[in-house]
Symmetry: C2
Subunit: 307 residues, 2 copies
């Protein structure tokens, strides 16, 4: 996995540049660039969610990876984005760059993986574009819907909020990143039952994705090393903070909701792994970690940078 | 331009394979794979259109092409697809693979070209994904709307229909393909004023795209060499039939509508170039050309094959 970790300013600066160049004043655009998906007002009942994710051979998967897994991952990344908005995924379009080396069997394996992930959540593949390419490229554009009252943005975190993450973090790139289960059902359970203030899926690592929430909400956060749910595949704290491709949900809730969730976790009333990891504080978008030595340190927003 | 013209069975077979693997039984899907865009029932008033188009350096544009033009083309290809459904383009998402050689200026030029094309039709860029890549890759996913009564599919051609094309055909790859004006307004004018039975945009050449209409409608067609509006950039009949990237509209109308259109063309009441080129016949999906020598010959559905 040739994770490309160039200076973060490149990607973060680029996204800022995007937001500036493409700033929308259209009142139908509830949320444009800068969240897990765009949010569009189309009718009275539900908002339309849309997101696209491009996977490139050698960056997001290896040339030798099982193509069924690669197809599964491509769709699952977008499912995870829809989940992070508490949405219901519905439709997907598929742009492919197919290498000349591919035979029918390769394409068939890839499409089967794509279909498998889509079928898990009854997503219909409704369109596509195919091209010859040197390397395999898969771009998935996914559409979904969300009830306006359930929509959760990155920008809703408030000082005092409790921060939670689903699942366990780190080491995904050692193999799990091709087989993860997008947290669509968990997001639905959470937003059906609790008031969630902000949410994001952890695709680029806890540190960077939490920082994105902080930046959009203009708040700070303190997290505790001792509370971080490290995955058994994670070799150290760094991998759990920065490696990315976890595709878990990170969300914040007000204190009273947080206490209810903590109670339910203790009484094992939550049917999936869920961990309290820290709190939102009144500050600039800064992230602090309290280590096992009880010392406070500042964490920089670096992670799995695609650029 | 490394136009990749491998055996047509590859791409056409692949699209058949797609349609089979991803066949949808969802009643909300009015049209899935197999037209210029997918068509989804979302509310009562309008259908949602969605399409994606991937452009790859060395296939759809040259490494040395002006990046402003390349960005403009990427968006315009998708605008042309929405036009072919008689839709109003509204929103776009943008997945980019950006080469390491790119500086800020390059990215800025590309984004400006993208913005220029989007702004022509008030399309908002609402989301995106950026990745490092060896070659420049641009995938545009565009969303639009259409009134149900105005929707035009490829599948509506009927024996006896008159066939028309906008603009002039051939030689686009010599330069015009980077600067064309997508026929959004012309499609609106046509569907506002006339009953259009079937429509497609000519992206892969007249022969192949007309054949797609024939296949979806299960009819044949006869076109006349003497009636083909050859572009001055077109070096010969072959370029006008097969070269592709014209991004003109091809549509069919019933005889009475066709006669009205012919009258308006004669009286110069149509404000854009529009040509009658032939007729739909009762047959299998076969395409015939009557040459300048008045001999009838069969034309194979080959064209600009991306695979």
């Amino acid at each position: 996995m040739a994770a490309n970790r160039r200076n973060k300013i490149s990607e973060l600066g680029l996204i800022d540049c995007f937001s500036r160049v493409f700033k929308s004043r259209n009142p139908l655009v509830i949320k444009g660039i800068g969240d897990d998906t765009a949010v569009i007002r189309t009718g009275k009942e539900k908002y339309l969610l849309s997101t696209c994710d491009m996977l490139i051979e050698g960056k997001h998967f290896k040339k030798t990876d099982n193509l069924n897994d690669v197809g599964y991952k491509a769709v699952s990344c977008s499912l995870s984005d829809i989940a992070a908005m508490a949405g219901e995924p519905r439709f997907a379009l598929l742009s492919l760059g197919i290498p000349k080396r591919f035979g029918f069997k390769d394409t068939d394996n890839l499409l089967k993986g794509i279909k498998k992930a889509a079928a898990m959540f009854s997503v219909d593949i409704i369109g596509g574009d195919t091209n010859a390419s040197d390397k395999l490229i898969i771009d998935i554009c996914m559409l979904g819907f969300v009830e306006p009252r359930k929509l959760v943005l990155r920008s809703g975190a408030k000082a005092g909020d409790y921060i939670f993450v689903t699942g366990r973090l780190g080491g995904s790139i050692h193999g799990r990143h091709l087989k993860f289960m997008p947290r669509v059902k968990e997001a639905k359970f959470l937003t059906d039952n609790f008031k969630i203030n902000s949410m994001i899926d952890i695709s680029d690592g806890l540190a960077l994705d939490l920082w994105r929430v902080l930046k959009e909400s203009n708040v700070g956060a303190v997290i505790f090393e001792s509370l971080l749910p490290m995955h058994k595949d994670s070799r150290n704290l760094q991998e759990s903070l920065y490696m990315g491709e976890d595709f878990e949900l990170l969300f914040t809730v007000a204190k009273d909701v947080g206490e209810i969730l903590l109670g339910k976790i203790r009484r094992k009333r939550i049917k999936f792994p869920l961990s309290f990891i820290g709190k939102i504080i009144q500050d600039k978008p800064k992230l602090y970690l309290v280590g096992r030595d009880n010392k406070l340190s500042r964490i920089k927003p670096r992670g799995f940078i695609h650029f």
